[in-house]
């Protein structure tokens, strides 16, 4: 087979080369280790030796021309008769003899040649090497002259100097920072200043409009003559929820399907556990998380994420559970829930709920789940849809148990039922997949022993 030879890279930093002399001419035989050409690199004139033997069939470039590494330079073949049309076409496809752009006079100092110019001929790795050697952007060695003055505060006020902890305390108490006097260096507001303001020590301190320092009030008393509304500043958490929910609801194609299950076995089972293991305090929600984990193991498509150009299927089942706090919603995660027993899941959920309430959750506690459960059953909700906790594919909305007429063996009876609604990202999960998952889940909850399978 004919071999197309290209301008070799003869040093780690070589970007272009010049063939100073051909040591063979067309028709010559060249053996392994023989020199085909002398090439001038950025460092030296080097001999270009052949790793293969063959007849020189074409010399594609003249001497003296600066060429990008990778530019076709010659064609070798096993015999003088062999068809070399393929190699020629390949050379042409490579852009043929590509002189380094712009073909600067060779003697001139090597101007920083834009590496992109030869993108077609130079492999990607070469770019990295080249860019390392000659940074495209010159590093500034001195600050730019006439430094621009610091921008004036946009609100016309000085930036408030405050320690991070004091800021946190003030935000939690909804205190107006402008009203606080800082006692630290340079007037920095420190924790002590906030605390004394809260305990009424500092007369200057006043709460932000509409809010009262101390305990949050359930209902704002209308102030005679005051405005008919109050503006509550967004907490960081509220901002995050707002952004995330709006993005999910508007960009993810949701669909929902609802399944009603009979809850007797679930409730009886939990009562039995409560009776035998009172210390464990297993809740219905614990059992649902466990069942979801077991069902996800069987339906990996539900346990995935849509990533634009691919779907990521997780090998672990990490179930997030929505927990409401004073600030808003957060979703701590039970990792590897499919591999954990009910007691452990229950204990972890309790610990996570406490941490969530105390705002002690670390980012690793609430990021990276593969599925979410949202349970509003305890608030008497009988059916609801949840917004997908992106980038996860599905979220399960669990409603409360209802005592209602049911048909059993053709006769009317009193039964206990519960609605569960799965919201799915249709880019990942289709209707049948979602339905099959819900079927598995329902069977597990209606017959909890199935989880042991």
């Amino acid at each position: 087979m004919a071999i197309l030879l290209t301008m070799p890279s003869l040093s780690p930093t070589m970007e272009t080369g010049v063939i100073t002399r051909w040591m063979k001419k067309v028709g010559d035989f060249i053996g392994v280790g023989e020199v085909l050409a002398e090439i001038e690199t950025d460092k030296a004139v080097m001999e270009y030796e052949m790793p293969d033997e063959g007849y020189v069939r074409e010399l594609l470039v003249p001497t003296g021309q600066e060429l990008q590494v990778g530019t076709p330079i010659a064609i070798l073949a096993a015999s003088l008769e062999e068809d070399i049309a393929g190699a020629k076409a390949q050379a042409a496809g490579n852009g043929g003899a590509a002189p380094a752009a712009p073909a600067a006079p060779k003697a001139a100092a090597p101007a920083p040649v834009a590496p992109v110019a030869a993108a077609a001929a130079v492999p990607t790795a070469a770019h990295a090497a080249v860019q390392m050697a000659t940074p495209a952007v010159a590093l500034r060695s001195a600050p730019p002259p006439a430094a621009t003055p610091a921008p004036a505060p946009s609100n016309g006020r000085e930036r408030v100097r405050i320690s991070p902890y004091a800021r946190k305390l003030a935000r939690e108490a909804n205190l107006d920072l402008a009203a606080l006097q800082g006692s630290g260096p340079g007037g920095r507001i420190v924790a002590k200043d906030v605390q004394s303001a809260l305990s009424g020590g500092a007369a200057a301190a006043r709460p932000a409009a509409g809010a009262v320092a101390g305990a949050p009030m359930p209902l704002a008393q209308p102030v005679p003559g005051g405005p008919a509304f109050e503006d509550v500043p967004l907490s960081m958490m509220r901002k995050a929820i707002a952004r995330k929910m709006a993005e999910s609801k508007t960009t993810v194609p949701h669909f929902q399907l609802t399944r009603k299950i009979r809850a007797e076995a679930l409730l009886d089972g939990r009562e039995a556990l409560k009776a035998h293991f009172p210390a464990l305090k297993i809740t219905v929600n614990d059992v649902i998380v466990k069942a979801c984990a077991a069902a996800l193991r069987q339906h990996p498509t539900v346990n995935s994420q849509f990533l634009g150009d691919k779907v990521r299927r997780f090998h672990t089942v990490d179930v997030a559970v929505a927990v409401g706090t004073d600030d808003g919603l957060i979703t701590p995660i039970v990792r590897n829930a499919d591999q954990k027993g009910l007691a452990q899941i229950s204990a972890e959920l309790k610990a996570l709920a406490v941490k969530a309430r105390d705002k002690k959750l670390a980012p690793e506690d609430y990021t990276g789940g593969t599925f979410t459960v949202s349970n509003l059953g305890m608030y008497g909700v009988t059916e609801f849809n949840a917004i997908i906790n992106t980038p996860q594919a599905c979220i399960l909305a669990v409603s409360g148990v209802v005592t209602e007429p049911v048909v059993e063996n053709g006769a009317l009876a009193v039964g206990r039922t519960m609605n569960m609604t799965l919201s799915s990202d249709h880019r990942v999960v289709d209707g049948v997949t979602a339905a099959q998952f819900m079927d598995t889940l329902a069977r597990m909850l209606e017959n909890p022993l199935a989880m042991l399978l």
């Binding site: 290209t6 070799p8 890279s9 003869l10 040093s11 780690p12 930093t13 392994v32 280790g33 460092k43 030296a44 004139v45 080097m46 001999e47 270009y48 030796e49 790793p51 293969d52 590494v69 492999p123 790795a125 070469a126 090497a129």
Partner: protein
């Protein structure tokens, strides 16, 4: 004040020693004995390994030129007899450590060209999972304790392996390969001293290719006969022709035969020559073309090839076939490396610490 230049000494090539080549008619007694010990099959295999090193590295140069291989690339070409001869005389459980010029040593130890080429390509199938590269071939299986990137940094490691051999009373020996440049570093002297002090089975082999990077030995070392260094540490020192496969084999075979039962260190100076520059980007303009040609006339591979032919152990046709097979083996190594996966990103954080 006069500028500091090395005092005039005998230049290695001022009055070049006559370079000898192997011929069946003029073998020494020890060389004949080596032929008997090795036999036809083993000698042909040794020839094959030398040819494999040469072909492998020629292909490496090409792959470097095509940017499939990056970083540094220090070639062993010219020194094949040294690695193959000496490593054919040891046992698989002996320890070997060397410098960054490690391709030849790794291939001589019998490592597959596939895993070595994959290492050079930075693939996870490489002998060091793509995390070492050209200078850092390691193999637990072959007791190859590494190619090491700091000149003379590997010498104490070889000393440590010899210490283990003695500590465990295992009859193993430890081979430390180093270049002539490493002789000028402190660890060389410290390690020879300790090896001698404690009678460790440590064999230090100076691959004297006559240049430490671009500096000829007479410009770097006050003595150019390195066996003198052995005397300074009260240990045996021998010089061998590093271009001569049988001599390299015999020197190591004799060395290990004595030392397994009676541990003691040894310094071997093997005079050899590297055909290429210090590394791939060195055109070696500090050497005269005639000097290279002089050594190429006694090319270690050609020497063995013609000996095999003279002995009637390998016909011209069989040699051609062997060479063709080896070249094909190397092409397959390139294909293997090409097909192999890059290390998964998780590999970045693996092996920083052991469990």
């Amino acid at each position: 004040m006069a500028s500091l230049v090395a005092a005039p000494r005998k230049k290695p090539d001022a009055k070049p020693d006559e370079l000898k080549t192997l011929t069946a008619g003029s073998l020494t007694r020890r060389q004949k004995q080596a032929l008997d010990e090795l036999g036809r099959e083993k000698l042909v295999e040794m020839y094959r390994r030398m040819f494999l090193i040469r072909s492998f590295e020629q292909r490496c140069e090409q792959m470097y030129q095509q940017r499939k291989i990056g970083g540094f690339l220090h070639l062993y070409m010219g020194e094949e007899a040294l690695g193959v001869g000496m490593l054919s005389a040891i046992q698989p459980d002996d320890y070997v450590v060397t410098s960054y010029r490690d391709h030849g040593i790794a291939l001589a130890l019998g490592l597959s060209p596939n895993v070595l080429m994959a290492e050079l390509f930075g693939r996870v199938t490489g002998v060091s999972r793509g995390k070492g590269g050209s200078m850092h071939f390691f193999s637990k299986e072959k007791n190859l304790l590494g190619g090491h990137g700091i000149v003379a940094g590997q010498i104490p490691i070889g000393l440590g392996a010899a210490f283990t051999a003695r500590y465990l009373e295992s009859e193993r020996v430890s081979l430390t390969f180093l270049g002539d440049g490493a002789v000028q570093q402190g660890t060389f002297h410290e390690s020879l001293n300790m090896a001698s002090l404690w009678n460790l089975p440590a064999i230090f082999i100076i691959e004297n290719n006559q240049y430490g990077m671009g500096t000829a030995i007479n410009r770097a070392s006050a003595v150019t006969d390195f066996t003198l260094k052995a005397q300074g540490y009260n240990m045996e020192g021998v010089t061998v022709d590093g271009m001569n496969l049988l001599d390299c084999y015999a020197a190591m075979a004799d060395a290990v035969a004595k030392r397994r039962k009676h541990p003691a260190p040894l310094l071997i100076e093997a005079k050899t020559y590297r055909y290429r520059g210090h590394s791939i980007s060195d055109p070696a303009t500090y050497r005269k073309k005639e000097e290279i040609e002089r050594y190429q006339k006694v090319d270690p591979i050609q020497q063995v090839k013609s000996l095999l032919s003279e002995l009637g152990w390998l016909s011209e046709a069989d040699a051609k076939q062997l060479e063709k097979d080896v070249r094909q083996e190397v092409i397959e190594a390139v294909n293997f490396a090409d097909r192999s996966e890059e290390p998964p990103l998780a590999e970045r954080d693996l092996h920083v610490l052991a469990d």
